[in-house]
């Protein structure tokens, strides 16, 4: 220990001079814009300016993004990566500037894909300007990331966000001092209220204009960022050795990464000159022997030391009283009240969704009734048949998915943005461990109650591939709104509400059980929970709507096409007269094992496309909506149970395949079909004596 403290003390003296940097403007090191951005295909097409937003999670980065870009946003993935990418256009005084929102990260290590994507974007695609959004109340931790951006020699503007919350916490930041120390412009903001947005925009345009100025010397950049003597000497030594090789990353940064034993960079350099890697590892070893810590930890500690120093000089901290967050957390994280509030919030969310959803759905059905045909067109030209099917699919999407999913996701985004969802994650963390997951997995699982498709995409928040897959598998077991419609329509309406509730509870137990088994069976690593606990705040309507849209949009490009095309295909099958042959083929399963009428066979095929089709087609086939007249209570429950579990619907299968490949998707699908049939048969035998 004494060693660590000692080197900390030694550092501060040489640092204090080094941090006295010139206010010389900066980022001029890449004056050769055109050639540098060769790799950026889009830039070529669009020749405009590119601004990247970077920063930690929970600093209001998306609020800044929304303020800058308004409605012109493109959401997608980073090429070949399952990392979301948001892009928008900022229009200012006739200029069109592309704004790229990078993922919220804490460092440029190789901890996650998000970190790799971000560092490669900044280092290789060289955006014209990087806006580093920082949380003004946690300056020290945010500056840790800022320092890494400066190491990457990014042309930086610091957006000091949430200054209102900072002042509430009794902190004052000397903006000019901070700008002077870092050598970059600093713009105080309250992005959520639109404060500082104009200033930031002007700063962006101003800095971009200056980018043609003579390039800053490397020493100019270095002077701001020097570490303790032992570390600094080795960085410089290594950087000099790197002079000979051609590499797209800044040299000093590569030297630091080599000392940190960064896997990607070490591999890259090893491919060019093996002796450099061994030189780096010798230097790293010297450091490790000196400090008795591993080199990456030493460098993180050094960086934090610099951040600490800058923060200490630039801010003054007053006394903070008991905050609202503390008071709310006393309830939210309470052993009893905490769980009760989770139950109330999630229960309330589901009830609200289905009350509101049913109303909207009814309304939409009224509107669409004149043009909708419930009765499938089964004769006539093929074109008509397909058109009818496709149209029915569209109507189903409009009346059954949107009315439920939309209100669900709006309220969920509200809960999320308020900060409460992280508390739910914390409270349920231990329970998730038995399934090889941790608290964060509760987010995709809850999303699954709306629609499984966005929920599968949300599994990206998990850290390891194993955890992503496990979470997605469990998500497919969560009854989405379409399945809830079936459960309510069959069981709650014609048996009683308690059996419907029992199915829900049974499903949760099943998820826990299968989660435990899958955790043991699937190879790979699981890591535990490490998550920031943001302060509670009043959600912003803009962020909530944005988040809702980000989730619902996958309905439009995955669920709707699957609904429309699938429904048309089914209509064709129906019209071609395959109904009875299919039913006959499936009757050993449907009739003999599950104890259902043989007509149900085709329903289960239809349910592949849209789960709620089972209930619609049931009405068509039996020519009645009083299902109690045609099916016994046991049959109703068994049908609902099988529908709930038997297969992720077509849209989910497509989404799983996109995220995990066809092999894993097929395994999940086959398992769920077999499992549901098995369970259905057992249930029909066990329930007989009771109903």
């Amino acid at each position: 220990m004494s060693g660590c403290m000692g080197c900390g003390a030694g550092r501060s003296c040489n640092k204090s001079q080094k941090l006295q940097s010139s206010n010389s403007q900066f980022g001029k090191s890449q004056s050769n814009d055109g050639s540098d951005r060769k790799s950026c295909q889009d830039c070529k097409k669009n020749a405009g300016m590119v601004v990247a937003l970077a920063g930690n999670a929970n600093v209001g980065k998306s609020a800044v993004f929304n303020q800058l870009t308004g409605v012109d946003q493109i959401l997608g993935n980073w090429p070949g990566k399952t990392v979301e990418r948001a892009e928008g256009i900022l229009q200012y005084k006739g200029r069109k500037i592309r704004v790229i929102d990078l993922p919220g990260i804490y460092s440029f290590s190789t901890y996650s894909l998000e970190e790799l994507v971000s560092r490669d974007f900044i280092a290789l695609e060289k955006p014209d300007i990087v806006v580093n959004v920082v949380d003004a109340s946690a300056l020290e931790r945010n500056l840790f990331f800022t320092l890494q951006l400066l190491e990457l020699e990014a042309p930086l503007i610091l957006a000091l966000n949430q200054v209102d919350l900072m002042e509430k916490r009794g902190i004052h930041v000397d903006v000019e001092m901070l700008a002077k120390t870092l050598g970059v412009p600093v713009v105080p903001m309250v992005a959520i209220k639109g404060k500082g947005v104009l200033e930031l925009t002007e700063e962006i345009v101003k800095l971009a204009g200056r980018r043609s100025a003579p390039s800053q010397t490397e020493s100019g950049i270095k002077s701001r960022l020097k570490y303790g003597k032992e570390v600094e000497e080795r960085i410089e030594k290594l950087a000099r050795l790197l002079d000979g090789i051609k590499i797209d990353y800044p040299r000093r940064w590569v030297a630091i990464k080599l000392l940190e034993k960064d896997e990607e960079i070490t591999k890259l350099v090893a491919g060019m000159d093996g002796s450099l890697v061994s030189a780096a590892s010798d230097l790293a070893k010297e450091l490790e022997e000196m400090h008795g810590e591993s080199s990456n930890v030493i460098i993180s500690a050094e960086r934090y030391h610099v951040a600490e120093e800058i923060a200490r000089n630039a801010q003054s901290i007053g006394v903070e009283g008991v905050s609202l967050t503390d008071r709310l957390d006393a309830i939210a994280l309470h052993p009893v009240l905490g769980y009760l509030s989770i139950l109330a919030v999630i229960g309330g969310l589901l009830v609200w969704t289905f009350v509101i959803g049913a109303k909207i759905s009814e309304l939409l059905v009224e509107v669409l009734r004149p043009i909708e045909q419930l009765e499938p067109v089964v004769s006539g030209p093929l074109g008509d048949i397909l058109w009818n099917g496709a149209f029915a699919g569209l109507v189903a999407g409009l009346t059954l998915v949107i009315p439920y999913v939309l209100p669900f996701y709006i309220i969920l985004a509200f809960i999320e943005d308020s900060g409460y969802l992280t508390r739910i994650s914390v409270m349920l963390d231990q329970g998730m461990h038995s399934m090889g997951l941790h608290g964060k997995a509760i987010i995709p699982l809850i999303l699954g109650y709306g629609c499984n498709v966005p929920a599968c995409f949300a599994c990206r928040i998990m850290e390891t591939p194993k955890q992503k897959l496990l979470a997605a598998f469990l998500v497919t077991m969560v009854p989405c709104t379409a399945r809830t419609v079936v459960i309510l329509g069959l069981v709650a309406a014609f048996v009683n509400i308690w059996w419907a509730m029992a199915l829900y509870v049974f499903d949760i137990l099943l998820i826990i059980l299968l989660g435990r088994i899958a955790f043991k069976a699937v190879p790979g690593d699981s890591v535990g929970l490490i998550m920031e606990m943001p302060k509670y705040h009043v959600p912003s309507a803009k962020v909530v709507l944005k988040q809702t849209w980000a989730r619902t949009k996958s309905l439009l490009w995955v669920v709707f096409p699957a609904y429309i095309i699938g429904s048309a295909a089914l209509q064709a099958v129906y019209a071609a007269g395959w109904l009875n042959p299919v039913n006959d083929l499936l009757s050993p399963i449907t009739v003999a094992w599950l104890g259902l009428p043989s007509a149900v066979g085709i329903l289960l095929i239809f349910g592949l496309v849209r789960k709620e089709l089972t209930i619609l087609m049931l009405a068509v086939i039996f020519q009645t909506t009083n299902f109690a007249a045609v099916l016994s209570p046991v049959q109703l429950i068994v049908l609902a149970l099988v529908t709930m579990i038997y297969i992720p619907c077509l849209a989910v299968i497509l989404c799983l395949a996109k995220e995990f490949g066809w092999k894993k998707t097929a395994a999940i699908t086959v398992f769920e079909v077999v499992f549901a049939i098995l369970l259905g048969g057992i249930a029909s035998r066990l329930l007989m004596p009771f109903l």
Binding site: C4, Y106, S109, S294, V297, A301, P335, V426, D429, L529
Partner: protein
């Protein structure tokens, strides 16, 4: 007095009295199947060698030196339990007895080598925490990558560290050692949990759930298993 006997007594006092309580003579006697009179005698000689504080008619409490011996022996005991059950595949029911016999005869070096081989386990098979070694290292990785010869260089003055999970809510500590997966250590130091940094345990959640800690003006939730492997020097409140 033979080393084994001293260690048995220290262990018994540690188990009965905990870290700073008093172990009654009769309780120790009952546990070790000895007569109270001979226990009193041993307490006397232990007190002489500075391992316990003996209060006549009341019992004995461990001194700092005694506690150190206790923690060392407990560490070996629990490492042995993991080794016996995980590597040798011995019935977990039996490992305690076996470890009780073996713990006195293995050296610190063997204990540390087992720790390295077992990838620095955090807990014994029955779930009790294994205290970290006394080497001057910040992460277990270093120990794993270092060859055996450098090991002895790293042993230094013992330090009193506790897992973060042992702090009381609102108690402060400074980070001493991070143990565990390389990526997890990277993430923790990226979030500011670097050696020497002051942290405050804000809250523990029910049922062994994550703990909430405050570091560099940010609150983090950290899973219990990860927090078990973050060792801190506790800062006593004024």
């Amino acid at each position: 007095m033979p080393k084994e006997q001293i260690e048995e007594y220290i262990e018994a006092i540690y188990d009965i009295a905990g870290k700073n309580g008093l172990a009654k003579t009769t309780e120790v006697a009952k546990r070790l199947h000895n007569a109270p009179a001979s226990v009193t005698e041993v307490f006397g000689s232990l007190a002489e060698s500075g391992l316990v504080r003996y209060e006549p008619y009341k019992g004995a409490a461990l001194t700092d030196a005694g506690e150190e011996v206790a923690l060392k022996i407990k560490r070996k005991h629990r490492l042995l339990e993991v080794f016996l059950s995980d590597i040798l595949g011995i019935d977990p029911e039996k490992v305690h007895e076996e470890a009780c016999r073996m713990e006195h005869s293995i050296s610190d070096e063997v204990g540390d080598a087992m720790c390295r081989m077992l990838n620095a386990p955090a807990r014994c098979p029955c779930g009790k925490l294994i205290s970290p070694c006394e080497k001057e290292i910040a992460t277990c990785n270093e120990c794993r990558t270092a060859d055996g010869s450098t090991d002895s260089d790293k042993s230094a003055a013992p330090r009193k560290v506790v897992p973060l999970t042992d702090l009381r809510p609102c108690q402060k500590g400074t980070i001493a050692l991070l143990r565990g997966d390389k990526k997890v250590i990277q993430r923790l130091s990226d979030l500011g949990l670097t050696p020497g940094t002051e942290v405050v345990l804000m809250r523990k959640t029910p049922m062994g759930g994550p703990i909430e800690l405050c570091v560099r003006r940010t609150n983090l939730a950290v899973g219990h298993e990860i927090a078990d492997n973050i060792f801190v020097k506790a800062v006593l409140e004024a």
